[in-house]
Symmetry: C2
Subunit: 335 residues, 2 copies
DNA sequence: GCGAGGGATGAATACGTATACACTTCACAC
DNA sequence: GTGTGAAGTGTATACGTATTCATCCCTCGC
């Protein structure tokens, strides 16, 4: 195990200066074609790869993007991460992944200053997180994906949660439902808030009231959806439909319905949000509002690259449509 | 947006040399307590963080680990990744994540030489992948997690797949099953091979034969399990139990059973492998052989750190037990 | 009073690359 | 024949840190 060869070693081998080797590496046009060919041959023979650290130190660019996520085990987040990996990779960028649940805030603060990455993708914006303010304040190019923050001067790419939720509500109302359950998240961010408000707006526009007892506020996990469904469905006169703000909660609700013996969709319709891969499994067969993960990530990475290119460009907030995907958990017309 | 302060700037501010600042940063004992205190105060006031690149270039250590994975959307892999993130973070290490499906092999080869990371965690060993040979040959400390490669001189931490599979087979046989289906992966690695062989061994030891028509070889996705179940269960005399080598396939099998109207466990028992979080959801309630994700990752990272410390230490291959977790997909004694 | 020695600090250098600058060579126009 | 410019190349330097080496001061023992 010997130290890998440097550009200087190779320069000696090729009979040129280190500067010329570097020029070849950076595709500098000011180099004689013959020289270039000779150097390239030597590089190839030696199986040489430039030291990324030294290069980054000199150029100030690491070709690496920092990604902050939470709960990778949540199906939607896993899909988001997978897509981020795909898009970054196809852009020739590496990804450093941080989990804001595991990493203490001081670590995060350090990272922001270390110039270890060219930019950040933040996917877990919450009101109470100082991460985003810190990231923007640090001056490092930053894009918010999937979850935005109102009034933050920062590029953002989000689904149109409000409209998607509205469509879901409208769909239930049009099908004749009037006794509707809403399992919502204790609001910590834009996303779940809009998924809540949009739904309520659709019902209000149609003149359908939501009984306060039909609204359950829960946490993120599957088990919380399960508990909420049990609570709603074990009442004497349970709601005929339940809408919730994430697929994960919807899966919990389906499980809870199963537990209390309620049939879906005969006894109760269920609608989720995200349209994760699991939603299409027969075990769930879940009607869900789709989040355009692919477009969100494509657009977001594009935005980030443009901002790295030109830090002074005006911020953009891009909203992408979230269409309702109908499956068996609501597939039948209501009698 | 101004350039972040350097140790030299801070040295000037504190009235000392850059060398002294560096000594404070590295906890070098050869510095006067008073000086140290003064420097620390200045560092704190300036909110200074050392440039990670420069430090890495000098020390040759990046405090970053490269992780290679596939299919993050697969529940088990997501759990593995989550755990890796947790353990690395608590060790003060960063993680660069590569997806070997997205990243072309040449990228991988470059990465191996760039000294961008102190070591590698490989989680997706397959026979045909050159990645592992390359990684080991590159001399960078490397540990294989979850999937091993026979005869590769490299630290490895794997579950005892053979024994886990054996126990699953034994459990079915003991319950009186004699007509048993096996949904297995087209073998591309150690893991699925042992999960297959161990199971067959248990049946053989008990004198139970597996009909060739009861063995289905499939690919990784959920849909493949679904198709396999349909194939097995729509026969005139379907098997009374199906064992498969991953939870993901088991979920597909449960869905397929549902599709053809077979009741679990009344008509058919189902056993998976990995014991992912989803297995405990009521929708599946799946009996599954547990992979000790937490221990695997803890042990693996520990091994990796020790190898980074001392590259000459002898290679270790550590095998951890995989206990069978019994749930509703098999919970009842067979009549 | 003087040398030895330890403790604390600064000056200088190296990590491996990219690039500004200087220099040489050659072709060409006057 | 001299001057001009372009094309290639080499020299030197900088990125920000860690670390070796040299220096200085102070204490202590004689």
């Amino acid at each position: 195990m010997t130290r890998p060869p440097t550009s200087r070693d190779l320069a000696r081998l090729a009979g040129v200066s280190q500067a010329t080797v570097s020029r070849v590496l950076t595709n500098n046009p000011k180099v004689n074609p013959e020289t270039r060919a000779r150097v390239l041959q030597v590089l190839k023979d030696a199986n040489y790869t430039p030291n990324a650290l030294a290069r980054a130190m000199k150029t100030g660019r690491t070709d690496t993007i920092g990604v902050f996520m939470t709960r990778v085990t949540s199906p939607f987040h896993a899909e988001l991460l997978d897509e981020i990996g795909r898009v970054l990779s196809s852009s020739g960028l590496h990804m450093i992944l941080w989990n804001i649940e595991h990493d203490p805030e001081e670590t995060v603060a350090e990272v922001l200053q270390q110039r270890l990455v060219d930019g950040f993708l933040l996917t877990s914006a919450t009101y109470d997180s100082r991460l985003h303010t810190m990231a923007v304040a640090s001056g490092t190019p930053t894009v918010l994906l999937h979850r935005g923050i109102d009034g933050l001067d920062c590029d953002q790419v989000v689904g149109d949660n409000w409209q998607g939720a509205y469509d879901a509500g409208r769909y239930l109302v049009d099908a004749g439902h009037t006794d509707i359950g809403l399992v919502t998240l204790t609001h910590t961010g834009n996303t779940s808030r809009d998924r809540d408000l949009g739904f309520r707006a659709a019902l209000a526009d149609a003149g359908v009231k939501i009984k306060p007892s039909n609204v359950v506020s829960v946490g993120v996990p599957h088990a919380d959806g399960h508990a909420a469904a049990k609570k709603l469905l074990s009442r004497k006169k349970p709601p005929t439909a339940i809408y919730t703000v994430t697929d994960l909660l919807a899966f919990g609700i389906l499980d809870g319905a199963r537990a209390v013996g309620a049939r879906v969709p005969d006894d109760v319709w269920v609608i989720g949000f995200d349209n994760t891969e699991l939603a299409a499994w027969e075990a769930f067969d879940l009607t869900s509002v789709e989040q355009p993960v692919h477009s969100i990530v494509e657009t977001g990475v594009d935005l980030l690259r443009r901002r790295i290119e030109d830090p002074e460009r005006p911020t953009e907030i891009i909203t992408l449509p979230c269409p309702l995907v109908i499956r068996g958990s609501t597939a039948h017309r209501r009698v």
